[in-house]
């Protein structure tokens, strides 16, 4: 295989990987553009010279930074963090215009503050939700039992049978303890050992 063929194959492999990822559109465009640029070159020297004179020369490094920011922007959007997403979008526009701006990372401090605020808001929202569920469960003790007078009359009529069943069941009540062992992985089940039993 000639040197230029190896370069083309390398670009094709990278393009295939980036397509599979779906999270690297800028690098994908840069490699596709680069491949288009060199595919008709006869030698790697010619390809190197042609690439150096093309806009694709810096596009891969630029794409690397843009894809990183783009991945973070997409995650922020998915989480509903519009301010974080907007900050990444603004920085991406800056880097698209001048890729050297990618190495100015001062913007990250503002984003960190925004992310922390979102974490705190999430924590507060989750705590409030859990509190409301705990209150709801606590309120179950005050649940209305309804009118039990007809049940009571029926129960009284079967008093002796009910007491007999109670005696049978009481005789079978036990106290016990065990050691519960975790499985190897999260597809397994707990197992119990050292099971102790005593009369109720």
């Amino acid at each position: 295989m000639s040197s230029i063929d190896k370069s083309i194959e390398l670009y094709e492999l990278i393009i295939k990987r980036l397509e599979a990822s779906g999270n690297a559109p800028y690098q994908l465009a840069a490699y596709k553009g680069s491949l288009e640029c060199i595919k008709d070159c006869a030698t790697t020297e010619e390809a190197t010279a042609k690439l150096a004179a093309s806009p694709w020369y810096t596009a891969v490094a630029q794409g690397l930074k843009l894809d990183e920011m783009g991945a973070r922007r997409r995650a922020a959007l998915e989480l509903g963090q519009e301010d974080v997403a907007a900050a990444y979008e603004a920085k991406m526009k800056e880097v698209e215009a001048d890729y050297l701006k990618a190495w100015d990372t001062s913007y990250q401090e503002g984003i960190s503050q925004m992310a922390l605020a979102h974490m705190k808001a999430e924590e507060d929202a989750l705590a409030a939700r859990i509190k409301s569920i705990e209150d709801r469960v606590a309120g179950l003790d005050k649940a209305d039992t309804g009118d039990i007078s007809s049940d009571w009359e029926e129960v009284k009529a079967h008093k002796d049978e009910i007491k007999a069943i109670g005696r049978n069941e009481l005789a079978r009540l036990r106290r016990g303890s065990a050691v519960c062992n975790a499985p190897e992985d999260n597809t397994g089940k707990y197992s119990f050992s050292d099971i102790r039993e005593e009369a109720f």
Binding site: K6, E68, E154, G166, N186, F200
Partner: protein, 251 residues
Amino acid sequence: MAGEITVRQFLDAYRPAYDAVKATGRQRGIKAYEDLFAVADRTDDMQEAQLIIEREGMTLRLTTEDAIEINEETLAKLDPLDEVTTVSTLLNLDIYRNAKSVEDITYRASLLDIQVQRLTAKGKLKIFLAASLADKLIAYDKAKRLLREWPDEVKAKAALSAMAGQRAAVRELVSIIEEEVDLKADEIFDDQFFMVNMLAPQNIDAYGRTKKTMHPDAVKAYREMTEEILSDMTLTEILMREQQNAMVYAI
């Protein structure tokens, strides 16, 4: 060619990172680097070396293999079914095991903090709901037992009222469990994490891989009582039915 670096020189750029991983003794990470360095034994041609590295996904593996090993080591110490302590580790493992690119890792890692918060809260809620259900079933069982003992009419009637109250509470609680942690009544006792938290677990080791719990037969009694409570049986029918799985209380 003079001035051109060799494959070995090119790969030597990874030595400092390799040395750091080697110092930890983590085998998967070490192997990923050693596989990369071995490319120099397979070819002297820089382009061929780059093709091998790309074809075999070697640069991504430098990141993923070590991270997988770190998280697998952590998980091995934990109770893998604990839906609170394992959240972060399992999410990280999923990220690194399925990453196709560094950007995949960046994207999913950016979601991680909030996902961990949400799933941890859900796990904690499950613990609370499991303990609450166990409490109410025990209260129901006690009321049923007191009524059957029939100390006198006043106490028996109060016990019937308490039993009816706990029945109503458990019915409502089962609805809350379905709404909040997505477990239907017939799934509650098959969910390992929920089930174990109905047995008043207390960690024996530092990471909770072994726990002291109530007798496992208590779960059978809980299940049977829950089915009984959710059934259409009248209170009298319930009281005249002997439970197959009698309750096993804690020592």
